[in-house]
């Protein structure tokens, strides 16, 4: 290197370079054919050495590490996918269970409401029938009472009419004609 000889020595550097040039035949170093054999031999030795190291040791090792990582990542991904599927299935099962329970609860609710309604209806109907029967009985009683009362009224009216006629005329009227007169007046 020029720097290694340059600076400090100053003018001597030129001489040194010239001496060096002389040693190599004065040419441009890359075109110095006298060095070709040495360089080719070292290149062959070291490149073959490198090739052997690379192909037998380095690439299998690094490639193996990369492949191992790839496999690990793929394994982990499949594992994660499996777990995800599992959790999704569990969620689905939970949801369907929940839906089933909800419909069941609704059915039970409907059923009990219908039953209660039916029972209430039946009770109301029975009560109404009972009340209707009582009402009919009462109406019948009222009607018979009124009929009795009306017939009594007719007898009393006929007696009273006979008495009135007897007091006014002194003649005891014929019962049949009194009854007919009373009936006519009642229909009146």
């Amino acid at each position: 290197m020029a720097e290694s000889h340059g600076g400090a020595k100053g003018p001597a550097a030129g001489a040194h370079t010239e001496a060096d040039g002389g040693h190599h035949g004065g040419g441009f170093p890359p075109f110095e054919s006298s060095t070709f054999a040495s360089q080719l031999v070292s290149l062959a030795i070291f490149f073959v050495l490198l090739y052997v190291i690379v192909s037998k040791l380095a690439l299998p090792k690094v490639g193996g590490a990369i492949e191992a990582r790839q496999n690990k990542i793929e394994g982990d991904l499949t594992e994660a996918q499996k777990l995800k599927d599992q959790s999704e299935a569990a969620l689905k099962a939970y949801e369907s269970e929940l839906a089933a329970a909800r419909t069941r609860a609704q059915a039970i609710g409907n059923e009990s409401r219908d039953k209660a309604n039916a029972q209430a209806d039946a009770e109301r109907k029975a009560l109404e029938e009972q009340l209707a029967a009582k009402l009919a009985g009462a109406e019948k009683t009222i009607a018979s009472t009124r009929a009795t009362a009306m017939s009594n009224v007719r007898g009393i009216a006929a007696d009273a009419a006979g008495q009135i006629v007897q007091q006014l005329t002194g003649v005891v009227p014929d019962a049949a004609s009194v009854n007919a007169a009373v009936d006519a007046s009642l229909k009146g």
């Binding site: 170093p29 890359p30 690094v62 590490a65």
Partner: protein, 249 residues
């Protein structure tokens, strides 16, 4: 003070390994930085644990892995993964040695044409040999594009064949030239700062702010280029390999 932007590319032999013919094979500073790159890559890839949740170092290792893998898949298809170790080695070797080379006083391996030519030829012959071995003669159908009128087919084929054989040239020179030019420019601008300061004194040091700012900006650019050239080299390798894997396309 003299700026010598070329000195940083000197090859310094550290010790001699042996001889091939009449060539002396030396362990050079270039060899040392290749070793450094291999050591850094090995350390990064091997010492970085295999935790499920990665730490920083492991993240870097895994990002490099995924980056190269996705580059191959997108350009050469999943069949291209056969060449994953090769492309990963190329990308990491170039990227790490480029990034190490940016550190001042270090040497940049890929600033030497012979190194990039070596890597480019490795890719070229891999493509050629694999392509012929896998597809037989059908491989050469990459030279015969579909839907070209018969009368210009010979010309197109000539261009295709030429470009195929020029691939290693462009492949290697692109990387080499980028690293070389970047390092020379950095050294020149950084040298201006010192040169102004030492020659003009106080005024020079104040004036040196401008080239210093340029050096910093260029340095940031070079970090990007170091990575980008490694990526370009790797992706071109993928594209060339795609021809060998699917010659019909």
């Amino acid at each position: 003070m003299k700026i010598d932007p070329i000195h940083q590319f000197n090859i310094e032999p550290l010790f001699t390994i042996g001889h091939i013919g009449n060539h002396t094979i030396a362990f050079t500073n270039s060899s040392l930085y290749m070793l450094v790159a291999v050591a850094i890559i090995s350390l990064l890839m091997l010492a970085s644990g295999t935790q499920l949740v990665p730490g920083r170092l492991q993240s870097v290792a895994e990002i490099s892995y995924e980056f190269v893998a996705s580059t191959i898949r997108s350009t050469a298809g999943s069949e291209g993964m056969k060449f994953f170790p090769l492309i990963f080695s190329l990308f990491m070797f170039i990227c790490v040695s480029n990034l190490v080379g940016i550190i001042p006083y270090t040497f940049t391996v890929s600033s030497h044409l012979i190194v990039t030519v070596g890597l480019a030829l490795l890719v070229f012959f891999t493509v050629l040999i694999y392509g012929v071995a896998k597809n037989g003669l059908k491989f050469f159908s990459i030279f015969v594009p579909h839907g070209v009128p018969g009368y210009i087919l010979p010309l197109v084929m000539f261009i295709e064949i030429l470009s195929f054989f020029l691939r290693p040239v462009s492949h290697s020179i692109r990387l080499f030239a980028n690293m070389l030019a970047g390092h020379i420019a950095l050294k020149v601008f950084a040298g201006f700062v010192a040169m102004l300061g030492f020659s003009l004194g106080a005024v020079g040091w104040v004036g040196g702010v401008l080239p210093l700012a340029l050096t910093i900006a260029l340095y940031a650019l070079e970090i990007l280029v170091a990575f980008l050239q490694a990526y370009v080299f790797a992706i071109l390798t993928c594209i060339y390999l795609n021809d060998a894997i699917h010659p019909g396309h």
